[in-house]
Point group: C2
Chain length 236, copies 2
């Protein structure tokens, strides 16, 4: 294991990377420093804004993302994890540029939902308008044979308000608002709910949500990282 | 700035590295991802236990620490920060092995104390028995012309209890216990107090201590990282 680190496409954004790293450390069944996952984390904020580009503003991040994964491979990474939901839009371009495995955070999240919710056929998604319109979750769910359930338009506006006016603005979000979003998707037939947005992962962690049918994308990326590194998971 | 990342000697231990990274992100005056410090963080837990070696048990970490900093330089790091108080014992061996700057966390902490406490002549230290006996703080203070003030033996036992039975064991430590340690050193004539132990940094952050004469070593390393990267500090 020594000297064969996993790579982390960090900085997208920087705080999300820190949250992901904390979850990797917490999820690893380690008694001492030497038991932990070895990682090469490139905290690179300079990649052009992904969401802005998907909205039709600004330059494409594609070249920078490909260069990022190539730099991780050159530095010695044996695989790459992406603690970001939006960058996954360019995962095939990244994969084409390197010989190492690039984990798809969206696929890992859908797979985790299937693992945690027996007989899962309908999966709800809480994410930004940008992630929904990028279609990564829809394609991943389709490949897995699962139907994706999206919030009604008025509830999607509430999702955006929780993310932008709440978490991103540093304002506390009452647990009830989060629970109402999950309940709405379950009312629409979702058996599990994926959190496909870093801000929702942070909120989910802070509020100590222990509903096993709520599946966190950053937790899924962290779990995949620990397993891919050959380390045991801590029993939660 | 792009493509010229600072390097981080991570994994000593892994949770301390996460805490340091969070502080770097928080301390950077950034409006967007692109404003953040670019860092290459090698989260490497496999370095032999530093404290055990200093106690006379187990193999020396020197070769592994030197290899770690050499790997960071090869991967493209333009300087190296060390979010750990103990590894600083080997900073000269690391510096001799690379052409890039290796920041000394202990020197940064003493310099930060001098900056924050006008006319500082006596600096208290809260740290493990191992860090105290390694002598890094004593040598750094002497070079800076500052006298180091250590707790009395019974209070040092209380410091070790706060670190090992409290923070490391995951048990809450009342604010009063922390404040009493600082007050003891001030009673002994210290005008400022350095926190030379990661567990005390975590406790200090959790408790929101706002005494500017209490100087946190991980915060000092994070601050030095932001400045060395040429980024502006957020006004706190």
């Amino acid at each position: 294991m020594h000297g064969e680190p996993g790579g982390v496409l960090g900085g997208l954004g920087p705080a999300a990377t820190v949250h992901y790293l904390r979850r990797v450390v917490e999820m690893t069944d380690a008694e001492r420093d030497q038991d932990h996952v070895e990682l090469l984390v490139w905290q690179r904020g300079s990649v052009p804004d992904r969401t802005a580009f998907l909205r039709g503003e600004g330059e494409s991040p594609e070249d920078a993302l490909v260069a990022h994964v190539v730099d991780l491979e050159r530095a010695g990474a044996t695989f790459v994890a992406i603690p970001c939901n939006t960058a996954v839009v360019w995962v095939e371009q990244m994969r084409a540029a390197v010989d190492i495995e690039v984990l798809d955070t969206v696929d890992e999240t859908v797979a985790e939902a299937i693992r945690l919710v027996p007989g899962l056929r309908r999966l709800g998604l809480l994410a930004t308008d940008g992630t929904i319109s990028a279609g990564t979750y829809a394609r991943s769910a389709e490949r897995a044979g699962v139907e994706l359930v999206l919030p009604d338009d008025d509830v999607q506006r509430e999702v955006m308000s929780v993310i932008y006016d709440g978490v991103k603005a540093g304002r506390p979000v009452p647990r009830e608002r989060f629970d109402a979003l999950v309940a709405h998707l379950k009312d629409k037939g979702a058996q599990g709910v994926a959190l496909g947005c870093t801000e929702l992962s942070v909120l989910h962690g802070e509020q100590g949500v222990d509903d096993p049918t709520v599946v966190d994308s950053i937790d899924s990326a962290a779990r995949a990282t620990v397993l891919r590194s050959g380390r045991p998971l801590r029993r939660s």
